[in-house]
C-alpha cells in the first residue's frame, strides 16, 4: 500500500513539475530561435560555388535532458500497447533544438554568420542501469563561417 502511495505521489509530482519545465523550456526555445535567426544553419559539407572562403571555426553545443517520472511511466505503458511514445518525442525535440541553439550561441560569440556541415550526435545516459535514470544527450556541431570584413 505504501508503495502504491509513493508511486502515485511521484507520478503526480513528475507530471506537474515535468509539464511546467517543458512548457517553460519550449517558450524559451521559441524566443531564442527568433533571436538567433540571423545565423543560418546548413547540413551541406561544401560551400556554394563562388563563395569567398572566409575564416572558419568549429562551433558546438550540447545538452542533457532527463525524463520525469510521469514520462517514464507513460512510456512504459506505450511499451506494452505500442503507438507513438509522445512522452519521449517532446523530450527529444527539446534536446535537439536546445543543442542547436547553444551551438548558435557559440557561433555568435565567434562573430559568425552561418554554420555549415551541421551534425547532431545523440547518446542516452545511464542506459541499462536498471532504468533508474533516463536522460538523453544531444550534441550539435558544425563549421562556422566568419566573415572578417
Amino acid at each position: 500500500m505504501t508503495n502504491i502511495i509513493i508511486f502515485l505521489v511521484l507520478l503526480v509530482l513528475g507530471y506537474v513539475f515535468g509539464r511546467m519545465a517543458e512548457r517553460r523550456h519550449f517558450k524559451s526555445i521559441i524566443d531564442r530561435e527568433k533571436q538567433y535567426k540571423h545565423i543560418l544553419c546548413f547540413n551541406e559539407r561544401t560551400l556554394p560555388v563562388h563563395t569567398p572562403i572566409p575564416e572558419v571555426s568549429l562551433v558546438a553545443g550540447n545538452v542533457v535532458i532527463s525524463i520525469d517520472y510521469f514520462k517514464r511511466i507513460a512510456a512504459g505503458l506505450n511499451n506494452i500497447f505500442g503507438g507513438r511514445v509522445r512522452a519521449y518525442e517532446s523530450l527529444i525535440e527539446r534536446a535537439r533544438r536546445e543543442a542547436i541553439l547553444r551551438m548558435k550561441e557559440d557561433a555568435q560569440q565567434h562573430g559568425a554568420q552561418a554554420i555549415f556541415n551541421v551534425k547532431l550526435e545523440t547518446a542516452s545516459i545511464y542506459k541499462g542501469r536498471g532504468q533508474q535514470i533516463g536522460s538523453v544527450e544531444v550534441y550539435a556541431y558544425g563549421t562556422a563561417l566568419i566573415n572578417k570584413s
Binding site: F26, A74, R86, E89, G130
Partner: protein
C-alpha cells in the same frame, strides 16, 4: 549566397494532444488487462492445483517441519499441550471425514502471538497466545476444526498455486514493459494473493468446522462463544493478528450465528473444560506467581 533557413512549423514532433488523456486510456487498458488475466488465471490455477497429490505436499514440507522441530525442542509441559492438541486434532479429523491419505500434524508454539493457521502438508500451527484466550475446549475445537477444514479443502496449496500463477503472469506482463516500478507494484499484488485465503475459502472452512463440531459434541455451544469472543476482542482496539490471516467480517459472523441457531441444542448440552494439566500449562506466568505467593 541565396541560402536561407525557413521557419519550421511547430508541432511536427510534439503533438498537441493532452498527455493525461492518452495516459488515462492506456492505464485503464492495462488495469482491465491485468484484472482480467488475474481472474482467469487464478480460476484456472485453483482448478488445476487440486490435482497435486497431498503426499507431494507432505514430502515437500517434511524437511522444513523436521528442522523446525529440531531447532525448537519442547519441554515436558509444552509436550503435554502438544500431545493434547494432536489428540484433539485426530478426533476432529475422524469427525470431519478427511481422506485416508491426509493427515494433520499439529505444532504448538510457545509464543504470546494470538494466532493459529494451517499450511502446506497438513501442518497446523497453534500459538500459546491463542490457547490462553480460549475459555473452553469447544472454542479451541472450533479453531482447530476450521484449520483442519482448510487442509481438507486443500486451501493452502490452492492459495499457493493461485498466488504463484498470478505472480508469474504479472511478472511476464511487466517483462514486456521492462520497467522496475511496474515490477514493484505488480509484484506485490501477486505476493498478497499468495499468502491469504479468499473470503469464500474462509466461509467454507467455517461451515465444515461447524458441521464437524455438531458431529463431535452434538451441539454448537462453544463455537458461537468463540466468535462472540473474537468480536469483542476486535471491538477492544487490540485486534490480534488472528484477524490478519482470518478476516472476521460481519457477514461471516452472521452466517455462523445463523447456522448455530438453526441447530437445536439438547437442553443438557455443556461445554467441555480443558484438562487440568493443560489448564496449568497455559496459565499466564503472572497468575502463577500470584498463586504461589498466596499459598
Amino acid at each position: 549566397m541565396g541560402y536561407e533557413n525557413r521557419d519550421i512549423p511547430e508541432g511536427i514532433n510534439v503533438s498537441k494532444a493532452h498527455p493525461l488523456k492518452e495516459f488515462a486510456w492506456l492505464a485503464a487498458g492495462l488495469i482491465i488487462l491485468v484484472v482480467f488475466s488475474v481472474l482467469v488465471l487464478s480460476l484456472m490455477a485453483e482448478h488445476l492445483t487440486r490435482y497435486i497429490p497431498f503426499s507431494l505436499e507432505q514430502k515437500a514440507t517434511a524437511s522444513v517441519s523436521k528442522r523446525y522441530a529440531d531447532e525448537h525442542p519442547l519441554n515436558q509441559q509444552q509436550q503435554e499441550v502438544q500431545t493434547y492438541l494432536q489428540t484433539l486434532a485426530d478426533t476432529l479429523v475422524v469427525n470431519q471425514g478427511l481422506d485416508d491419505d491426509m493427515s494433520i500434524t499439529v505444532h504448538y508454539v510457545d509464543d504470546d502471538t494470538v494466532n493459529a493457521f494451517a499450511t502446506l502438508g497438513g501442518h497446523v500451527i497453534i500459538f500459546k497466545g491463542l490457547l490462553q484466550k480460549m475459555p473452553h475446549e469447544n472454542a479451541l475445537s472450533m479453531v482447530m476444526a476450521h484449520e483442519i477444514a482448510h487442509i481438507k479443502h486443500r486451501d493452502p496449496i490452492i492459495s499457493l498455486g493461485r498466488g504463484l500463477t498470478v505472480y508469474l503472469a504479472l511478472s511476464s506482463i511487466v517483462g514486456i514493459g521492462n520497467n522496475s516500478t511496474f515490477e514493484q507494484v505488480l509484484g506485490q499484488t501477486g505476493l498478497l494473493t499468495m499468502m491469504s485465503f479468499s473470503r469464500e475459502q474462509e466461509s467454507a472452512a467455517d461451515r465444515t468446522a461447524l458441521l464437524t463440531l455438531k458431529r463431535y459434541y452434538g451441539h454448537l455451544k462453544g463455537a458461537a462463544t468463540l466468535f462472540k469472543l473474537l468480536q469483542k476482542e476486535e471491538a477492544e482496539h487490540s485486534a490480534p493478528s488472528f484477524f490478519n490471516s482470518h478476516p472476521l467480517t460481519k457477514d461471516r459472523i452472521k452466517a455462523v450465528m445463523g447456522f448455530a441457531k438453526s441447530i437445536k441444542a439438547p437442553a443438557d448440552s455443556t461445554v467441555k473444560a480443558f484438562p487440568d494439566n493443560i489448564h496449568k500449562a497455559l496459565r499466564p506466568p503472572a497468575e502463577t506467581l500470584e498463586k504461589a505467593e498466596n499459598q
